[in-house]
């Protein structure tokens, strides 16, 4: 079961696009440069000035028992409940032939739920299903958890930071090519491919579709019901398969995303971006 909770549409950004900022409003690189070093200094200075007291035997601090385990969330793309492969041709809800070439997205602010309690276990994770990047690892308190709350996109606090603060290997590393320089914010979902309006066609679909969501308005939070619960045991890894119905990207409820007229958004077509975000957020499920 999925409970969708769209973000407040009154986000920071005006609809459609932001006007280029003036030089003075570019984020100050010099100021930002200090941030990681402040962190390093904060780590090193205690090393420098602690532990140098008079000779005395220091009782070794007993290590606390491990109380956390690892939740491994593996996202498996599917088409109408069956296997899905990039660059294969499928027929979508509009009876168009479609070939998906890229699905990349962020999941943010991942929380485990149990009754009224919730615990944030992962701030951000990047998925690139075309390149096999399909797994999220989270450190989770031991116990039984009956639900997940996940954001499709980059939480605003992370999204608003200067991207140069994110190091190599970080989900928000610029090398993942998910950053929109025009809006100084991250893309949340990239859904690219080609389509053919002729359901009986035999040539590979040729017309490109390229739909990229982003901007804080497109951040979509959704819940996944884990039924009787997933149990995390201390020190162990538990794998949870999350199904992603790619066919569902083209519809939700009674609304259909019609590729004939809705095939491109890069932030400049916000209604389509919101429609896709909504569809995509409802495409995740757990059996």
């Amino acid at each position: 079961m999925i409970k969708l909770r769209p973000n407040d549409p009154g986000g920071l950004y005006p609809p459609y696009f932001c006007v280029l900022k003036s030089p003075n409003s570019f984020r100050s690189g010099l100021a930002m440069m200090h941030t990681p070093f402040r962190t390093l200094l904060a780590l090193l200075l205690p090393l420098a000035f602690a532990g140098c007291g008079p000779d005395e035997e220091v009782e070794p601090t007993p290590m606390p028992p491990t109380t956390t385990g690892t939740l491994r969330i593996k996202v498996v793309p599917e088409w109408e409940g069956g296997a899905f492969a990039m660059n294969s041709v499928y027929t979508n809800v509009s009876d168009y032939r479609v070939k998906v070439e890229a699905i990349k997205f962020y999941l943010g602010d991942v929380r485990v739920l149990n009754g009224s309690s919730e615990t944030m276990v992962k701030d951000i994770a990047f998925f690139n299903l075309g390149e096999g990047r399909d797994t999220l690892l989270a450190t989770v308190p031991a116990g039984t958890w009956t639900g997940l709350r996940i954001g499709l996109g980059v939480p605003q606090e992370l999204n608003d930071a200067d991207p140069i603060v994110y190091p190599s290997g970080h989900p928000l590393d610029l090398a993942n090519a998910m950053y929109w320089t025009w809006s100084q914010a991250y893309r949340f979902l990239i859904f690219d491919g080609r389509y053919d309006l002729d359901a009986g066609g035999t040539d590979p679909p040729a017309e490109p579709f390229s739909m990229h969501t982003g901007l804080n308005e497109c951040y979509m939070e959704f819940d996944l019901d884990l039924g009787t619960g997933v149990t995390i045991t201390a020190g162990n890894t538990t794998t949870l398969t999350v199904h992603l119905a790619v066919d569902h990207f083209f519809y939700s409820g009674t609304e259909t995303l019609d590729l004939a007229t809705e095939n491109q958004t890069h932030g400049t077509n916000l209604p389509l971006a919101l429609e896709l975000s909504n569809n995509a957020a409802q495409s995740f499920s757990v059996e």
Binding site: F37, L47, C52, V165, T181, W182, T261, Q264, G267, N269
Partner: protein, 372 residues
Amino acid sequence: MKQRNAVTLMLALGTVLGLAGCHNDPDEMPAPVDTVPAGTPLTVDIPANFPQMPIPEDNPFTEEGVELGRFLFYDERLSGNNTMSCASCHSPEAAFTDDGNQFSTGIDGIVGTRNSMALINLAWDTRYFWDGRVLTLEDQILRPVMDPIEMHETWPNAVAEIQAHAAYPPMFESAFGTSTVDSVLVAKAIAQFLRTMISGNSRFDKFQRGEGLLTVDEQLGLQLWQLEGGDPALGLGGQFGADCFHCHPTAGGRLTDGQLHNNGLDAEFTDLGAGGVTGLAEDMGRFKTPTLRNIALTAPYMHDGRFQTLEEVVEHYNSGGQQSPTVDPFMKFGQGGLELTPEKKQQLIAFLNTLTDMDFVNNPAFQDPGEP
């Protein structure tokens, strides 16, 4: 830069304070046998508008490693007949490209099929060569030496020649703790040197850091860069912009997304690009996005050097490109192209010219050091 150095110094002091002098009995200190890597650790200044540099754990910067790499980069012993070095096709006089040649000519007089790529900010790249066939800089460096149409040498021969040179074994000893030369260490040393080749002082960089201004035309060119291309009546979301930002993002000073794209050069491919590596239909005609840093200095353009001028390049994108099964959705084929006016094209080129960084090109630390 001074602030960065000061921070580095403080870190060094903090580390020394933190890790030394707090132990009562030096005899109990574990002997640092085989735990300290050879060479003197080197901190490289990173421009303030750049992200951290990813440095491989197995090839950290050292002063000696970078120096050794610089000598090797310019050393013709790496070619079969000792007439070519890496710098032959990546010359500092040509902003580390091949002197305006469309294709490079190897030691046997064989002409290649792709334009020599400019060596700029390689440390941040995640794939190398026009077809993106290798994923590390060290691996990239190993290839041209062995390529029969380039330096046409075997690594055992090259290593033997370097080993036999009186100056090199001690340099390897200083850099890597062994005087025995091998291809992996050669590649590591050159990679260290190449990672120091950072361009971050163009007028655009200074503008991005708030240290300088751009002219009105240059700023309008940048604005076009960041706007969606095309006519909104023909393609959803069109803003009559130049739509450069998708593949050449300005964030972090990269000016490349580092990805593989088919930018619509051909309807039929004579060079398969990444498809020639993977064999996958979806990769046919896709090539790595090059950085646009120093683009005004690095003609000709595209993987095959087909365009001689920036005007030709801009006109290609303005046209919308050629249709093919893998043409990138960012191209505006079938949607009337970008429809840029002559004035807008000139503004775009004015902005491209702000990416020139002569401090980088003329940096003494990157020039030929002569014989070791």
